[in-house]
Symmetry: C2
Subunit: 112 residues, 2 copies
DNA sequence: TGAATACTGTTCCATAAGGCTAAGTATCAC
DNA sequence: GTGATACTTAGCCTTATGGAACAGTATTCA
């Protein structure tokens, strides 16, 4: 269903919905079944399932069915992609600050 | 235009688009005008402006117009909201790991 | 076996997102 | 003051998203 050229598209898209972030928060405390996860939400099950699919499609959770129960668990490793993007971004600011600092420093040297 | 109950909705929504992430990467190296930012993209200006508005609406960038030129700059502080969410999420896993560890430890103690 | 449980599949609907073109406004350079 | 530049506004189109209802399948329990 989902087809993202960059995995980050799907990851951030999945995180953009409060229902899905709430599910992740719940799963952070340990695995749970679909029904358990759905219980707090005033939403029909098929609608809720779409959120589960969005989360699974982005790789933020993985699910597994045993009997009639599907159990969901968080995929912690997927969050590394977010961290990676964040540090790339920070590196840019940092590099910019460094260059600025370098400029200021070399300017000060010329002053002498 | 945007109306999100939780700021994270808008932030993650903004990050979910590759064009917008590219703009942020560009702005990480320093402020730029709309035209400069738009240049690399094969897209009509009004379309590109929507991305700028999405970024500004989420608070990830701020813009300012002088004369006929609007200059955009990254709002680094906004990224703290993402960091905060990430650490909350990590804290959940961590707490769970701790509890698990505690359980294992106390189980080992009973073994003795 | 029959009923209840736990999803799953399908279809529909309203709104939002992301693209376009065309026309408008405000500066700036001459 | 005229023309070019740099957005802006408005409206249109197509697809995606987030919700619903309803019917179906597969397990489990009694």
């Amino acid at each position: 269903m989902e087809q993202y050229s960059d995995p980050l598209d799907g990851i951030f898209q999945a995180l953009a919905d409060p229902t899905r972030r709430a599910v992740l928060a719940r799963l952070g405390r340990g695995p749970a079944s679909i029904s358990d996860l759905a219980a707090p939400f005033d939403m029909a099950l098929p609608s809720f399932m779409k959120h589960i699919h969005a989360l699974e499609g982005s790789g933020l959770i993985r699910t597994q069915k045993q009997g009639r129960v599907r159990t969901c668990a968080i995929e912690e490793s997927r969050f590394a992609a977010i961290e990676a993007w964040m540090s790339t971004q920070r590196a840019l600011w940092q590099g910019r600050t460094d260059r600025l600092e370098q400029f200021v420093t070399s300017a000060e040297n010329k002053e002498k």
